[in-house]
Amino acid sequence: MSSASSTASHFMPFAATKIAAGVDSLYYFLLVASFISCVLVIGGLIWFAVQYRRKYEGQKTAYISHNTALEFLWSFIPFVIFMVVFVWGWIVYYQLRSMPENGLEVAVTAQKWNWTFTYKNGRKSQGTLTVPIGQDVKLIMTSSDVLHSFYVPAFRNKQDVVPGRYTALWFRAEHEGSYNLFCAEYCGDQHSGMLGKVNVVSREKFDEYLGTEPYKGLTPVEIGQKVYGGACIACHGLTVNDVKPLKLGPTFYMLFGRKESLADGSTVDVDEDYLRESIVNPNAKVVKGYDAGVMPTYAGQLDEDEIMGLIEFIKTVK
């Protein structure tokens, strides 16, 4: 099984869980079976067409209306194959969806367009999920706006995140590394920018990550930079060119201290208070040229240290 998954990295991404390798085995079986049936059907098709090409006009053809035995056979054989792959797929699906009893539980909140992960000890992380190697991890997911989908190709696992209810997904990573996390259910303008990472680290590193204060020893600016990288980066850029249509929100470049024209025609001085308001109540003062209702509120998502850090970080973007 494992050899199959390592030789075929061209067809599938790296398999970071055992179940992923199981999915791959089934997929390769399906690929081989598909290839054989395609060769049989398409090969037969081409062979017959060429072999029996018209040699002269008015050529007589055989009158073969049907052949019950043959037709039964080529109905029954696909049926058997379909049932085999169905049952196999069922087993794999059962493994993918049987939730572990004593896993590490992480709450996942999706919103346009980022992921928030909350651990049981209250530690929060934006955009990056850090998990220990070799442990069952159960994600309990919900959305605060529209449908999203939590998709990590390396785990061969995916689950839509539905507002108003919880869905769950579990995995047990067997290889350290940093894996891509995609949003796979269409969710609007920055759907393709709703990316994240799943970092699989050693037990020790994870304990350190979880146990330490998230921002221990960091300056406010560094805290802000981290928050920016998880929460803001999809929509707000750092250079003078990062404006619409590239980014949905205004750039942070030279933002602090300037006079901003608002959609209602007034202007506002960009100071700490304005920035704070724009984070927790983004629709109160919308910058001219941008739309209200695009940015969700971060009240409750970010704590005061993080907001403060973010403001300090924005001050430094010049």
């Binding site: 939730m99 539980e105 709450a107 909350t118 049981k120 309990i140 919880y166 869905t167 769950a168």
Partner: protein
């Protein structure tokens, strides 16, 4: 088309009888709704409604005297609805989650 005379052979009296039956069933369904049968409330109400529907279909719409294909068509549409209901409910009532509210 008079040749078939399909519907003409339902006597007038039958139509009036059907109406009386429908009105009686309406009274019954209202009366039944005033008594609480618990979980059976819906089933009883829908059962009476279906009896009324049968009368309307069979006589007013003269399905009873028509080609069987019309029953098939009507049945198909009901079957489609049963499918929609069955599979939607199959999903909704088998969503199992061992939720920890953290």
């Amino acid at each position: 088309m008079s040749s078939g005379g399909h519907d003409s052979h339902i006597p007038l009296k039958t139509y009036f009888n059907i109406l009386v039956a429908l009105l009686i069933l309406t009274v019954v369904t209202v009366a039944a709704a005033r008594v609480d049968f618990g979980a059976f409330n819906t089933i009883i109400a829908l059962g009476i409604a279906s009896a009324k529907a049968f009368l309307v279909l069979g006589w007013f719409m003269h399905l009873k005297f028509d080609d069987k294909i019309y029953w098939v068509m009507f049945g198909t549409s009901i079957f489609g609805l049963v499918l929609l209901y069955f599979f939607s409910v199959l999903d909704i009532y088998t969503r199992i989650m061992q939720i920890s509210p953290l």
